[in-house]
């Protein structure tokens, strides 16, 4: 009977130590849980082992997606910065812009021009950019007191420095005379693709930077000459022009 009491008291003391002494309790539970952990690990191994190859593939894919997402994030931040910059530029320019209407359009198919009802008297300047809601329409090439003649971006004589919005590749946008433009002076490895947008480069010329010029519809790479040229659909609907804004030359 005495031995039983001693055993009971010892067991209670041991239990109290295990319950109230955190380090002892943790060690005890670790020992007690070890067999269960072993069994669980064995089961997991049996379940996971057949899926190991696909998991490795998933891992690679997720890593690639992560890298792509980080690159996208960088590009989007750059785009956002660029858009903010362009808006600031355009707001400044538009504040000084002169709204003009089309008086008439060229009847010569090889010379794409429009006559506007604003001229020198209204503050229009020679070589200034003319834009509409969609992008650059052209440049003022002849200035008269009350009117001005604008050479459209599709005219074969039109030459505008531009860059690809996504990759910042720069080149020259020239008119083709058939309602489309070409983006030339690109090397064979130029990073340009269909649906890329072309903006004005504003390399110190009279045109402000960041005006939309058009969208790439076709890219042709010529291995022999080591050059790339892209066919560009103008952003402005040059066949449906009504109201436009004449901008002052960029400073």
């Amino acid at each position: 009977m005495r031995a039983f009491r001693i055993s009971l008291i010892s067991a209670l003391l041991l239990g109290a130590v295990c319950v109230f002494q955190e380090p002892v309790r943790r060690s005890t539970l670790a020992v007690l849980r070890f067999p269960f952990a072993l069994v669980k690990a064995a089961v997991s191994l049996v379940v996971v082992l057949p899926r190991l190859p696909s998991l490795a593939a998933d891992h690679d894919r997720l890593r690639a997606e992560l890298v792509q997402s980080r690159a996208d994030a960088v590009r989007l931040r750059e785009d956002l910065r660029h858009v903010q910059q362009s808006h600031a530029l355009l707001d400044t320019s538009l504040a000084n812009g002169i709204v003009a209407s089309v008086l008439s359009r060229s009847t010569i198919p090889t010379q794409h021009t429009v006559l506007l009802d604003r001229g020198r008297r209204h503050g229009v300047t020679l070589n200034g950019a003319v834009i509409d809601a969609d992008g650059l329409v052209g440049r003022v090439t002849e200035l008269h007191p009350a009117t001005c003649l604008v050479t459209l971006v599709t005219d074969p004589d039109s030459r505008i420095a531009g860059l690809v919005e996504r990759s910042r590749e720069s080149g020259l946008l020239v008119g083709r005379g058939d309602g489309q433009c070409e983006f030339i002076y690109l090397d064979i490895q130029a990073d340009i693709d269909v649906e890329d947008r072309i903006l004005t480069a504003g390399f110190g010329g009279p045109l402000p930077k960041g005006l939309r010029l058009g969208t790439v519809t076709r890219v042709e790479r010529d291995e022999a000459s080591g050059t790339t040229r892209a066919v560009v659909r103008p952003a402005a609907h040059v066949g449906r022009l009504e109201e436009m804004v004449c901008l002052p030359p960029a400073s």
């Binding site: 008439s104 359009r105 009847t107 198919p109 002849e142 074969p156 004589d157 058939d178 309602g179």
Partner: protein
């Protein structure tokens, strides 16, 4: 009524301008100024130089380059129509159509040569525009004859 030639030319030029305002591409606008010139010289051949100069000046409004060449082109066309009128009946719609078609091709090809523009699509556009311009000759001829009587 010789002055009717000038009326025909100016009427055609006005119609040309109106069409250019409503049709998106100048390639799809028939060259009514040229039609007017050919018909007007047929009506009033003695003043071919006046009519040619008027047509050239009207077209020069839109030109930003090769202005002198455009003016000279219209003068040459007026002179050629005058010469053709001595050989054939320049008031016959078939002759008029031939002259208009030839003149349209010469003017456009001349512009291609001056601007160094040679592409298959532009040649197709030229052919279609010439055909479109020739197709308007019977209608303009009908209206012009009614006016000149």
């Amino acid at each position: 009524m010789p002055a009717a030639g000038l009326v025909v030319l100016l009427g055609c030029a006005a119609a040309h301008l109106a069409l250019a305002m409503v049709i998106p591409s100048p390639w799809w606008v028939p060259d009514l100024t040229l039609v007017g010139l050919v018909l007007a010289v047929g009506i009033w051949p003695a003043r071919w130089w006046l009519l040619s100069a008027a047509a050239g000046l009207l077209t020069m409004v839109w030109a930003v380059r090769s202005i002198g060449q455009i003016f000279a082109g219209y003068l040459l066309i007026g002179w050629a129509v005058r010469l053709a009128g001595r050989q054939w009946d320049a008031t016959d719609p078939r002759i008029e159509s031939g002259l208009v078609g030839s003149a349209s091709l010469v003017l456009t090809m001349g512009a291609f040569w001056l601007d160094d523009l040679w592409s298959p699509i532009l040649l197709v556009f030229t052919g279609l525009r010439t055909a479109l311009t020739c197709a308007t000759v019977p209608l303009v001829h009908h209206l012009a004859r009614g006016r000149s009587r």
